[in-house]
């Protein structure tokens, strides 16, 4: 019987496994790596020696060597993982800090100028204007059922008017029953339902919040955006009150040299409905590129509450009436600060953010 290069394989493997078990640090492991699983290892040497064998012996020996190599490599990697875990644990232990023992009085705090978000500040300014006009500020959820986002607002299932909003649907419940709210209007419904339940009408509220529309972002639109919605439900409220509130708001927020005007539009939840335009903030009404020479810029939608909406929440439309309006907070910020591309608002570039304070 001739000797095979693999005669000593088992004992060599045992030696390697013992050597691996003896490695006690990641540094030692890295140093030993070429000699155990690398090109200089005994297994690689044996691999080369297989060439001397006749072919039928070679394949069997090759398979045996492959198994041995696999075992060694697995053991080596397991050791590496264990040592890495230990090293991390040791490192973390060395790094340990008892947060309760921090002596705050000894912390030196370098003067740092912070910057509030443009949208947050704009929203705050808008809220302040409306609170001064007698509105309270309410909020609602961002994930809504289709009933609040659409049907209670007089937009029945499958109605083409739902196409006015590019809706993100949420994978909950039956198809198309859960949406990311496309506008802040569902908060109106929650408020009216709560007021009916608590018998606390009238209502005078504004509702700011984040909304979502499935529309590719461009310089004037974002798929995630912010709206502020206004709602009044009271006795004897009509179109003139709506127009008055819009005008007072416009002058208060955009300045006394601005004005507003309404033009007919369609929203399923208001009737009569209107788009409201304000004096172009760039040219103050004399006509420029921003306003297409008209002197006016479209800001939002509004209207007298459709009696169907009051009916949906159980309010008697013969006794109560009201109006609603809504517009983009981001759009107000864009106009006020002349932000050429809306997408800058979500890029979080500190060089942009720190220009605002």
């Amino acid at each position: 019987m001739t000797s095979s290069p693999l005669d000593e394989l088992d004992s060599k493997v045992s030696e390697l496994l013992v050597a691996i078990a003896a490695l006690d640090s990641l540094d030692a492991l890295r140093e030993a790596e070429p000699g155990i699983i690398g090109k200089r290892s005994i297994l690689s040497t044996l691999q080369k020696s297989l060439g001397a064998l006749v072919s039928e012996d070679r394949s069997e020996a090759g398979a045996r060597l492959q198994r041995a190599r696999h075992e060694v490599e697995q053991t080596f990697e397991a050791r590496r993982a264990l040592l890495a875990r230990d090293a991390r644990r040791q490192g973390l232990e060395k790094d340990r800090l008892e947060l309760g023992d921090v002596v705050v009085d000894n912390v030196r705090w370098a003067p740092t100028t912070g910057h509030p978000g443009i949208i947050a500040v704009t929203q705050g300014q808008l809220e302040d204007v409306f609170v001064a006009m007698g509105f309270s500020v309410s909020e609602g959820p961002e994930v809504e059922s289709d009933w609040y986002n659409f049907e209670a607002l007089n937009i029945p299932p499958a109605h083409p008017a739902r196409g006015m909003w590019d809706t993100f649907y949420v994978d909950l419940g039956d198809p198309e029953t859960v949406v990311l709210r496309t506008h802040t209007s569902p908060t109106q419904i929650h408020l009216m339902e709560d007021a009916v339940r608590a018998e606390s009408l009238p209502l005078h509220a504004v509702m700011p919040g984040r909304c979502y529309r499935r529309d590719s972002p461009d310089s004037r639109h974002l798929a995630t955006f912010h709206q502020i919605e206004g709602l009044v439900v009271d006795r004897g409220i009509g179109f003139a009150d709506l127009a008055g509130v819009i005008e007072t708001f416009t002058r208060s927020y955009f300045g006394p040299d601005t004005s507003s005007r309404l033009r007919p539009a369609f929203f399923p939840f208001t009737e009569p409905s209107a788009e409201f335009e304000i004096t172009c903030t760039i040219c103050k009404g004399s006509g420029c590129r921003t306003c297409s020479q008209t002197g006016w810029i479209e800001l939002g939608g509004c209207g007298v509450l459709d009696p169907a909406v009051l009916h949906a929440v159980g309010i008697d439309a013969e006794e109560w009436s009201g109006f609603a309006f809504g517009f983009g907070i981001d759009r107000c910020a864009q106009m006020r600060h002349q932000i050429s591309d809306m997408r800058a608002l979500t890029e979080n570039d500190v060089r942009f953010l720190e220009r605002f304070s």
Partner: protein, 824 residues
């Protein structure tokens, strides 16, 4: 919708300038989105015939075209390929100036010289068509050298791009816009020329029609037209269509499109020889039926609906063999399409249920000019008038046309307009101004409403076209809107209402503002990171957890609602490090979402058709997170920041306790929780970001110590005394305080702040206790450390004596003793 001014003028006299007309249309709610002048500056463009087409050596995008424009052969380099020898095309010769001011000069390209330019319809501003050259012989019978304005009867025109709102299908036509204008301007509305059946033969002897789904099809009319010759339309019809944004195809198809644009009624012409038994019926499609529509797509009909409110029904047109030949009101099938061999035409003009069309159109993802109109509601009484107009137009190119008498007219269920009663004061209550009865009559009658005075009320009956006007109280709002609109919103008064209730913020909003204020004052810069993130981003912090998923995201990496703010801020920080702006404190206040399966408190609400379902929605959690990434920052500065925040918000009972099992973004041995000492409520976590987490999220941050603060605003608002704490502010004593230090050797298990609280509460005379040093190491027993406090004591009534202070000191030492602390 594009409306040429010349077309409008067929219906109503318009003397206003373009600017004035734009104002008026806007004020009527017919918003002018653009005004375009067409057919201008075309005097230099002439008709040329293509004589020869040659390749240019080394050029594969352009060819040399030899044309004849009356003065012998002319070589032109041209990039279009949609023409052949013998076609007639528009030529702008050298020296011509095209609309828009582009002047044609001789140009050398690829060694060839171009002596002019062959033009597409868009280059001539005649339409948006830029598929290739305008092929004039497909449109008319042109003469070489003739001016293109003569060949195509082009006159300069103004085209208004008008946006019509979804509730005004009646205005979605030239006539509809003209009707609004005529009413506003107090002018007469003219009707266009109409034809009448001119054949003695009876329609019923040639064709038959029927409705088997009366709820989906309210009316089906069928006109039989014989001796039809299919050829190009007269040039004036082609010009109108082009100006209105449609491409002329043939006289029959053009007449159908023309009538739709002009009157608002979609019609469908069928080649009678391909309609079995000359029969059209309307019925529901059966499951398993198929149809290949004109766009070449094979469609499975009556598939069960998946969208909310979808019944899965399709309304179809079938022939005499009951074979489906069209998706009713949306698109025809290709089998019976009009072609040059057509001699007999069956013209369908119908009314289909708007919701039925809307459902089918959405399910098949198929929208057409016809379906857009039917789903909003076409006037059920318009069908035969549209047929009469269609025939009048077709007669211009086919004088021998026969329209068989008594067109077929089948009725299904047609919505019945119900009357609306305006009581005295209704209009004034809603609009804030009284509008006289005469004016109401004039405005509404202009739009074909029937207006009757009955006792002291006005009874208004809308015309059949106004499907949007509802009954009862709801309808009253609809009618008042029409009055307001026609009267002009700008003429209505404004008044600022007032009410006794004061405006107010909620406690949450006040808390949020104060919190944002402190963070910004300490140097925080507020970011806005995406609510919609990728699975991978979600997994950094919440692997294997249920997540709220969007079914139709814009991109796959925007398909999951975030469950933490931290990852987004870390990524924003990573980007700013790249920009060289990484030495910052970043903060975000925002909502995160917990899947209803992953929380004990899902939001329960109603939804589904009619709100009849109870739904479990995600728990929405408002949080504020801060990353401290300046050079000197770490968990230590995070604790310092929290200390300031908690004091500014009056949260003096909230302490930092270490946390052995922190959330995934947190460094495992430099982590703590924000705990209310009294209630045990955990408001959030604090510490430093874990390096392994950083390696995954933003590897350029690895190696930096980044402090982090992540607070649950919902809990903070609910449980704290931020707004409920006593308003009492005590005046400090006028007598001097005494100061002394106490250093204790304490077991490590004793919390430094707990001990401080205990010391502070030991006596009413203790004004303040502050930790000023922590010492661990040599000279101390194992498992202990030294905590040193600065104590200030004083009395409101007197100056404390030395013995008083000594007694207090002893009392504090005793208090420390109860914690196992010994004076060092």
């Amino acid at each position: 919708m594009k409306i040429p001014l010349s077309w409008l003028r067929d219906f109503v006299d318009v003397t206003e300038s373009v600017a004035e007309l734009t104002e008026i249309l806007d004020d009527l709610g017919l918003v002018v989105e653009g005004v375009e002048i067409v057919g201008e500056n075309l005097e230099d463009v002439i008709v040329a015939r293509v004589e020869e087409i040659r390749a240019i050596e080394g050029a594969d995008r352009v060819r040399l075209v030899v044309v004849d424009a009356g003065d012998g052969p002319l070589e032109i380099v041209c990039g279009a390929t949609n023409f052949a020898v013998g076609n007639f095309v528009p030529l702008a010769p050298v020296g011509a100036v095209l609309p828009g001011g582009f002047e044609i000069a001789e140009r050398k390209m690829r060694g060839a010289t171009s002596h002019g330019m062959l033009c597409s319809a868009r280059e001539l501003r005649l339409s948006d068509d830029h598929e290739g050259l305008m092929i004039l012989d497909e449109l008319t019978t042109p003469v070489v050298g003739e001016k293109i304005t003569d060949a195509l009867s082009i006159r300069a025109d103004v085209v208004f791009e008008i946006s019509v709102e979804g509730n005004r299908p009646d205005a979605w036509s030239v006539e509809g816009v003209a009707r609004d204008l005529a009413t506003r301007l107090g002018r007469e509305l003219r009707s266009p020329p109409m034809a009448s059946p001119n054949s003695a033969a009876k329609s019923a002897d040639f064709a038959s029609a029927g409705i088997d789904a009366p709820d989906l099809c309210g009316r089906l009319t069928l006109s039989v037209l014989r001796n039809v010759q299919v050829k190009p339309s007269p040039t004036w019809i082609g010009e109108r269509l082009r100006n209105a944004g449609m491409r002329p195809i043939s006289n029959v198809v053009d007449a159908s499109n023309f009538v739709m644009l002009e009157l608002g009624q979609p019609t469908h012409p069928y080649d009678a020889q391909h309609v079995a038994r000359h029969t059209l019926r309307v019925r529901r499609a059966r499951e398993g039926e198929m149809l290949t529509t004109l766009d070449g797509v094979q469609r499975k009909l009556a598939k069960p609906g998946r969208g909310l409110g979808d019944t899965g029904e399709d309304c179809v047109i079938v022939d005499g063999d009951d074979v489906v030949i069209g998706l009713a009101g949306i698109m025809g099938g290709s089998s019976s399409e009009i072609n040059v061999t057509t001699t007999d035409v069956l013209l369908e003009a119908a009314f289909f249920d708007p919701m039925g069309i809307a459902r089918s159109s959405k399910r098949h993802g198929l929208r057409s000019e016809a379906s857009n109109r039917f789903e909003r509601g076409v006037d059920p009484q318009l069908a035969l008038r549209a047929a009469a107009r269609f025939v009048a137009l077709l007669l211009e190119s086919v004088p021998d046309l026969e329209w068989l008498s008594d067109p077929l007219d089948e009725l299904g269920i047609v919505p019945d307009p119900s009357s609306v009663i305006l009581r005295p004061g209704d209009v004034e209550r809603s609009l804030g101004v009284e509008i006289s009865g005469d004016e109401i009559h004039r405005l509404l009658e202009g739009l074909n409403f029937r207006v009757e005075d009955r006792d002291d009320t006005i009874v208004v009956t809308p015309p059949s076209a106004r499907l949007d006007v509802r009954a009862g109280t709801f309808g009253r709002a609809d009618v008042i809107e029409e009055i307001a609109r026609l009267h002009s919103y700008r003429r209505l008064p404004r008044r600022m209402p007032s009410w006794p209730e004061p405006g107010a913020f909620s406690e949450r909003q006040i808390l949020r503002r104060r919190l944002r204020g402190v963070i910004v004052d300490l140097g925080g810069t507020e970011v806005w990171t995406p609510s919609l993130i990728s699975d991978a981003q979600f997994d950094f912090v919440h692997p294997n957890e249920s997540r709220v998923r969007v079914t139709n995201p814009l991109a796959t990496d925007e398909s999951v609602l975030r469950a933490t703010l931290v990852t987004g801020i870390v990524q924003a920080l990573g980007k700013n490090v790249e920009r060289g702006k990484g030495e910052v404190i970043l903060t975000e206040l925002g909502t995160v979402f917990v899947h209803p399966d992953a929380t004990d408190e899902p939001r329960i609400t109603k939804g589904g058709d009619g709100g009849g379902l109870i739904l479990n929605l995600p728990r929405e959690n408002e949080r504020v997170s801060v990353l401290l990434a300046r050079a000197e920052d770490s968990a230590i500065t995070a604790v310092a920041m929290w200390s300031v925040i908690s004091q500014r918000l009056g949260l003096s009972d909230v302490v930092v306790r270490s946390n052995e099992d922190p959330v995934r973004f947190m460094h495992p041995t430099r982590a703590g929780l924000l705990v209310d000492r009294v209630t045990g409520t955990v408001f959030g976590s604090i510490g430093e970001l874990d390096q392994e987490y950083l390696d995954g999220v933003a590897s350029n941050l690895v190696g930096r110590r980044i402090g982090v603060l992540d607070v649950d605003l919902d809990l903070l608002a609910e449980h704290t005394r931020v707004l409920r704490r006593s308003d009492f502010v005590g005046v400090p004593s006028r007598y001097p305080s005494a100061l002394f230090d106490l250093a204790f050797i304490t077991p490590v298990a004793v919390h430094a702040q707990d001990l401080a609280f205990a010391l502070r509460s030991a006596s009413e005379l203790i004004e303040d206790v502050r930790l000023f040093d922590v010492y661990v190491g040599a000279g101390l027993p194992s498992n202990t450390r030294s905590l040193a406090y600065a104590v200030r004591v004083g009395s409101a009534e007197r100056t404390l004596s030395e013995s008083d202070v000594a007694a207090l000191r002893d009392e504090l030492i005793a208090t420390g003793g109860r914690f196992g602390a010994q004076l060092r």
